[in-house]
Symmetry: D2
Subunit: 304 residues, 4 copies
Amino acid sequence: MEYQRLIDRILLETKPLAKNGKVASYIPALAEVSPEKYGISISTLERQRYNTGDHDVLFSIQSISKVFTFSLAYARLGHKIWERTGREPSGTAFNSLIQLEHEHGIPRNPFINAGAIVVADILLSIFPDPKKVLLDYVRELANNESINYDENVAFSEKASGHRNFALAHFMKSFGNIQNSVEDVLDIYFHQCSLALTTDQLACSFLFLANDGVNPHNNRQILTASQAKRLKALMLTTGLYNESGDFAFRVGMPGKSGVGGGIVAVIPNLLSIATWSPPLNEMGNSVAGFEALERFTTYSGKSVF
Amino acid sequence: MEYQRLIDRILLETKPLAKNGKVASYIPALAEVSPEKYGISISTLERQRYNTGDHDVLFSIQSISKVFTFSLAYARLGHKIWERTGREPSGTAFNSLIQLEHEHGIPRNPFINAGAIVVADILLSIFPDPKKVLLDYVRELANNESINYDENVAFSEKASGHRNFALAHFMKSFGNIQNSVEDVLDIYFHQCSLALTTDQLACSFLFLANDGVNPHNNRQILTASQAKRLKALMLTTGLYNESGDFAFRVGMPGKSGVGGGIVAVIPNLLSIATWSPPLNEMGNSVAGFEALERFTTYSGKSVF
Amino acid sequence: MEYQRLIDRILLETKPLAKNGKVASYIPALAEVSPEKYGISISTLERQRYNTGDHDVLFSIQSISKVFTFSLAYARLGHKIWERTGREPSGTAFNSLIQLEHEHGIPRNPFINAGAIVVADILLSIFPDPKKVLLDYVRELANNESINYDENVAFSEKASGHRNFALAHFMKSFGNIQNSVEDVLDIYFHQCSLALTTDQLACSFLFLANDGVNPHNNRQILTASQAKRLKALMLTTGLYNESGDFAFRVGMPGKSGVGGGIVAVIPNLLSIATWSPPLNEMGNSVAGFEALERFTTYSGKSVF
Amino acid sequence: MEYQRLIDRILLETKPLAKNGKVASYIPALAEVSPEKYGISISTLERQRYNTGDHDVLFSIQSISKVFTFSLAYARLGHKIWERTGREPSGTAFNSLIQLEHEHGIPRNPFINAGAIVVADILLSIFPDPKKVLLDYVRELANNESINYDENVAFSEKASGHRNFALAHFMKSFGNIQNSVEDVLDIYFHQCSLALTTDQLACSFLFLANDGVNPHNNRQILTASQAKRLKALMLTTGLYNESGDFAFRVGMPGKSGVGGGIVAVIPNLLSIATWSPPLNEMGNSVAGFEALERFTTYSGKSVF
């Protein structure tokens, strides 16, 4: 198979780059992960799956979970969600408070920490048990009932989450958090702890390449228009302050997490997930970023 | 023809929106333009052209010219151009000095004023007569020898261009302008004064939908990879501080100018240009923005 | 008595200005105070006291307490205190997080909220029961055993103190808060709730006009050099973002609070306290500010 | 004489500190000055003068001239001057454009570059020949007809003054510069080039210790109230971003320049000038700053 040879080659070529990055160390559970781990998975609309490397090892998806929670809230609220968060690139670090102060507690977009915390607050106002709803949602998208939170990671996130507590209290001072800070962050720290393999991750994003329809059960998760808009948001804001560079070099809507994962989609074609823990200074996986650039270069496929 | 009916309908539907905007007034030549003017043009890779409204009236393309100058410099310098300008969304107003101070004279991207002034400086270092080179370049891309600068506009730009003088001197204090500020801004003010019709504008951007090859004469203007990258840059930074919103609502790489023009492309398909002078607070044409959103919604075509 | 006639006149002249301000409303206990209240008190090194208006009504001293806590910590730590807080004017609003982010969790000075929270953290690390120590300290300085916290105010401060929680968590993320955020803010909210009369307030600041020696019991509270430095700090940073203006118009080291109090000293001479609840947009008492300007103008006395 | 012994001792003690600083190097005329130069001068209201070290060598007073031009404009415009510049500490570097952008072209105070450029613009609107008026003014204050501009320095300032051109054009874009940028900066670059000795400098500031009256000819330069206000401004903003620290450690209204000079006054008593070219990172003379701190510590005299 062509895709199989392609990802085998790319894994081989880009694996050495991992040594230029540093594994996230702010919580023990992340710091302990081997920097050698590396997996790549592709899932196509033709129901083919291609895997290479450590594609069956669970890792912490961290910020990638922001796409799941946003999608869940967006399907419910529609346009009204934009009263609570913006949709512009932030131009500043992912956990900055500066932008938030200038714009009176409205985060720049739902994929920076502040925006994701607002989304967690929204879920808490909608659902009696948002953690369970979210877990069911991800399991359905990935077509895999075994997916779960890593309570150990969630607990560590909380213990070292002073900056996120600051963000939440700060937005609450502007009236943009409606539930208790403790409860909102409990959701947020749990969503960050979701553990998936690259194979599961690629599967779970396939609905975005399919005009919002979950290909596993044909359920409409988002309208086609909403799916288009979510992909635009991923393209412009999905890789923290390196989103412009990712769009420029890779040219696919994507989302990264400090656990070392990146996932991206090509509309009407496929989704692809990479996992290599060492990060660059922007918080994105060094090897994964390069792998995705090579994928678009070698295959000639991107959104442009 | 389907595209013809589509743009006729969109023009009719969105024309009333112009009254919600304000024509740029900082120079007389722009302030005198009628807010009623409205034209839409499409140019396809199949060599079809579709026009409606004031598609044959010359207007000042202003910041849209930044794509031409950048493309010209990028083809010459390649990757080395990124030593002089960034490629990330700015997150601040198009003529802000704040970002520039924080980042030591390196503009965020080539489509904010500071970035375009650096590009003009680059052209001045490469070409003995950059204004003539640029004019020939645009004429070739538009396949139209009649295109010209509007000296009246260029003169007015200079007379009221204190902010741009500030930007250029500021960057020179950081060493990121190599020629005289006067000479660099002379190029910049002239490029802004380029006068095209929507029909000519759509034609001149078709090479970006064609993997960098000028379809009028089959000359390779940019490599396919460079064209892809330039489109990514347009998508993330082409509409000032509203770029994220344009990507979100419209989903096409585009570029706007305060003369009221917007141009956008769909890879492998077409380019589309709109012109309606009244602007929203972000400096983008109110009717043109909405027209392009409807175009992608009605046609179901976008990059996503 | 000359001072008596002077403050009687000033009270009469400036009382009408109160209607140009607004009483702080973020907690009920402050919002309920009558805007008509107005008292002025002078305490001299010759042991004379002059009072006019509502000089015997208790009010919430709020940020004025920051001088007490800083003085207490400064006497213990000396120069080492500057490892935890700066001593420059902030140039931004009193509860801003922006400066804090730019300077990695080190507040600009001990009289903005962030700085006072760091000082509370310091007191908590020094004393087993800092709230009791602080109360004894203020009672000794004011020579009045009846002074107390207003638990009602302290409770309300906490309930609406999201911004202060944000500041504390934010600094903790930089390692500049060493105790639990809850415990540190408990001290902070209590110090803000201290209730004094203008007469008690003037008395309690007299040690600063006396080279650091409490004139009531001749105890050295600060060294002469420390007292000089604390007065310099008050002059440059004591009235939030209006400190420069206060120095300019009044010319005395002073400190204000959102309860409507202001206290100021003239070295080797006297201390003066005013209380009028309506505040200007900077958070300073409108009538009190003007009263102190007139006091220096009419008396010809200032530090300059 | 006591003051004589005092400054002799301080010069001896603090001279070695100069090696911790760096001589300003942005123009040749400043870079060539020997870092070994060191002079201290005191001028008292009792008409005594005390000098030590290189007190009779001319040096470039640079930003110290901002006090002269401001005083000249203030006497003419009175309160109306505050429509053109603020009077708060800037909180940012002396040549920052950030504050200026946030506050729409109104500089924070007249002692940062932007503020002094506005003052130069004001002088140009008042006087037909402001450079001559300023020179006469300084000669009168210093009681010395030999004082002059250093045309060599003025020329160099202009050649490397891109940042100041940026500031002036930027403010003109907000309408806060009324004359041509070239003409305004010609005044500004000349005022910076004024060459005085420490003895002359101390003499020329004595009017500020004397309630605004020039003690050499008894002419009222400023009203007593204006003199008080100008001193307050110096205390809060006179040493760039280190003003708070200077107030804290020294406790005198002062003004520094990148030529290595600092001048300060004690109301009703004396003025003191120091000159040692090596600067700290904030742009203030290392030895001079320390000398003034020791002067207040040893003499026990300050405004506090």
